[in-house]
């Protein structure tokens, strides 16, 4: 038997009974969503709740400094900056030992820029010659605006997807897709909370991308589902769903794999500033694949769907267990 190309070796048609596991999956998903919500909202500390808030959203300054080829004396730097009376200053190693990341807030009523220059002077005084590789400073006013527009963006994207699916399919499909979307977004927030990935504009961009890909996956499954609904008018809803998912399974796996491979490359080689972004998207791709099978389709099963010649067919035990 020839093992290449692999597509010939893969099973031609799988017959997994996805729907049968839908209840179990639903319980797990609901628990995971609740857990994620708790993790990302609690302790309820504005603006980001339980998430590691980036300066994009809470204001303040981040500096990347380098004393190459000398290593940064983190302890000495921390001690020196703590005496400045500008509140909590975080000093972290960042990549190479000769690099460090310094974060601090702008005390109320002081000038953003003056504060930055004061800290830079102090760092130079403490460590000797320092290169300030990158500095970002954001005022409270702007960070509040960025936070609001970030949330509006997320909300807007979800709304737009609902409208698109509704317009392109029908309302039940839209609800299923949006349920899957919320599931993905909430779980991603949970991941961001657990891994302490910084929640900033880049994280929002990553989540928006996930929304796009999650929908993409859902749409592909729905497309086949709609087609099969027309083709097999008498087949119980649960079976049509199973059949559609099985038919698309090869494609789903191949596409997810290419995305996963590329994202792993990004996470490994993309450097520290792309790491968070790639991890979020990696998780999103996997969870998006899961949710289009186990969230989007079963929601339709639950709500029923209007088939061509008959009334909407709500969930009946017969449809689930067969």
């Amino acid at each position: 038997m020839n093992f290449w190309p692999l597509i010939k070796v893969l099973p031609v048609r799988t017959h997994f009974r996805f729907v049968r596991l839908a209840r179990l999956a639903a319980v797990i998903s609901i628990l995971a969503v609740i857990g994620s919500l708790a993790l990302s909202l609690l302790p309820f500390k504005p603006p980001c709740g339980g998430l590691e808030c980036g300066i994009d959203f809470k204001g303040g300054t981040v500096m990347e400094i380098s004393t190459a080829p000398k290593a940064v004396d983190l302890g000495k730097l921390r001690a020196a900056l703590d005496t400045m009376g500008i509140g909590d200053v975080q000093v972290q190693a960042f990549g190479a030992p000769s690099s460090a990341m310094v974060r601090f807030q702008t005390p109320a009523g002081t000038d953003l820029n003056a504060n930055v220059q004061k800290v830079q002077a102090k760092i130079t005084e403490t460590l000797g010659p320092v290169r300030f590789a990158g500095t970002s400073a954001i005022s409270a006013k702007v960070s509040t605006e960025l936070f609001t527009t970030g949330l509006l963006g997320l909300g807007g994207a979800i709304l737009l997807m609902l409208i698109y699916i509704w317009f392109r399919f029908e309302l039940q499909f839209g609800l299923g897709a949006v349920a899957a979307l919320f599931h993905d977004v909430f779980l991603t927030f949970g991941l961001i909370a657990i891994l302490r990935i910084e929640f900033d504009l880049k994280a929002v961009a990553a989540i928006l991308t996930i929304i796009g890909y999650s929908m993409n996956d859902t749409v592909v499954v729905f497309d086949r589902f709609r087609e099969n609904l027309r083709k097999y008018k008498r087949m119980p809803l649960g079976e049509v769903i199973d059949m559609s998912i099985n038919e698309m399974l090869t494609r789903t796996i191949i596409t997810s794999m290419t995305a996963v491979l590329a994202l792993i490359a990004l996470a490994v080689f993309g450097g520290p500033s792309l790491y968070g972004l790639s991890i979020i998207m990696l998780f999103g791709i996997v969870i998006g694949t899961y949710s289009s099978i186990y969230i989007a389709a079963p929601v339709i099963l639950l709500w029923g769907v209007k088939r061509v010649d008959e009334e909407a067919e709500p969930l009946k035990p017969a449809n689930v267990r067969r």
């Binding site: 597509i7 006013k141 491979l261 500033s273």
Partner: protein, 534 residues
Amino acid sequence: MMTLSRWKVILVTLAALLGVLFSLPNMLPSNVRDQLPAFMPKKTLNLGLDLQGGSYLLYSVNTEALRTERLTNLVEDVRSTLRENEIAFTDLAVVGDAISVRITDPGQVSDAANFLRRTVGAPLAGAAGGRDVAVSTGADQRLRVAFVPAAFEAETARAVEQSIEIIRRRIDQMGTKEPDIARQGKDRIVIQAAGESDPDRLKNVIGQTAKLTFQMVDDTTTPEDIQAGRVPPGSEILQSTDGFAPSYIVKKRSVVTGEMLTNAQPGFDQQTGHAIVQFRFNGVGARRFGDVTRQNIGKRFAIILDKKIISAPVIQSAISGGSGQITGNFTEQSANDLAVLLRAGALPAPLKVEEQRTVGAELGADAVKAGAVSAIVGLGLTVVFMLAIYGFLFGGISLIALAVNAVMIVGLMSLTQATLTLPGIAGLILTLAVAVDANVLIYERMRDELRSGRSLIASMDSGFSRAMGTIMDANMTHILSAAIMFQFGSGPVRGFAWTLFIGVLTTVFSAVLVTQVLLAWWFRTARPKTLPIA
């Protein structure tokens, strides 16, 4: 679908060639690029500040200061108007957003209101006409003088425009690479300077109001008065950077101001060799400066920039020529920068930094390197994976489509000069990796059709056309999320969105048309009996 129509072949070939043509400048070293004939495109990818290094500065115009200043001036206007018309008054003060004054003689209240209405404030621009202040009478012989709401709005808009103009003049004279200065929202200014080596100097030149005044040092006071904080009325203590004393007490009234300067140049003191700034007054300034120096020989005056004394020399002789020099505590560069500030004029209101992002060129280069490595590895993995799954023929076809896609994206990004940011590179890699999805959809559909018993040609045909609908639907979702990101995002996120958007367009084009042409061509030349992937 499997017929090879001529226009499709032409379209695909043309798109691929144009893609190569427009992405070519990115592959060439700059000296080769400069020698290209004129008809060849020369634009390379427009790298964002996070990739090439640079500064992004967001300032807001301090409208509160503007308002306070205008109200203070208005108080003086009211005072002089009432005095000129010999109307006695008390309690002249700023109260909230307005000015309140009590007219002593009840009979003069309406006269006073009329005088004020005629002379105070300035005519409003626009068709409505009228003046920008409103005068109303209140209880207890009081008058209330306030700016109409439109006045402050117009003032803010004017201040922002003026600030942009002045900042542009200042930066132009610094001789750095052309920065991008734009207004954002109602009262904000964004400045983006690529490759600026010294962001602090840039901030310094932009952030200073540069309000220059010449004020007399109050010689009735002693250094002990400064320490005790005893300040005579009409004087104030100001910090000094002249290197001689930490602060001086100066008279509040300014003798001459920066608006009366016509020129300022950096130079060197011929005796000491120190860096200095030479300046020249206009007619009014020269006359006033001459008078004051003549009357105050042997006394000190202070040259004050933004409430900080930069020099406090003793007047040796009357200076009547209208020119002079500031011998402050300067370096060559700071003298040059001060001259730039004085020539460009003072900002109408102080600017406040709201956001600043600076990236060193080295950090940017690291980011480019990391992006390139992950692109090579990520796409390499995709190539290996697709060949392993679909074999050289069908896998190869999808990879040719991918290559066309890649050059089209790079070409389009170079052509439109869309900003490529670091997250944008991530978006690009992901877009390309997932672009093969369209091929996968087409191939899987073909296999399905074949399995349901159709002939090879029929299943290729209908596999193709049926996959189309799905591809369109699926890619629409990316367009929507990219549009949202573009709408709500800023800076790097917008770059990411734009990259995604261009990527979706080229993906649909290349995966659909390129794949179709290649498959049709294979079908015609090889006359296959079976599908190699079924």
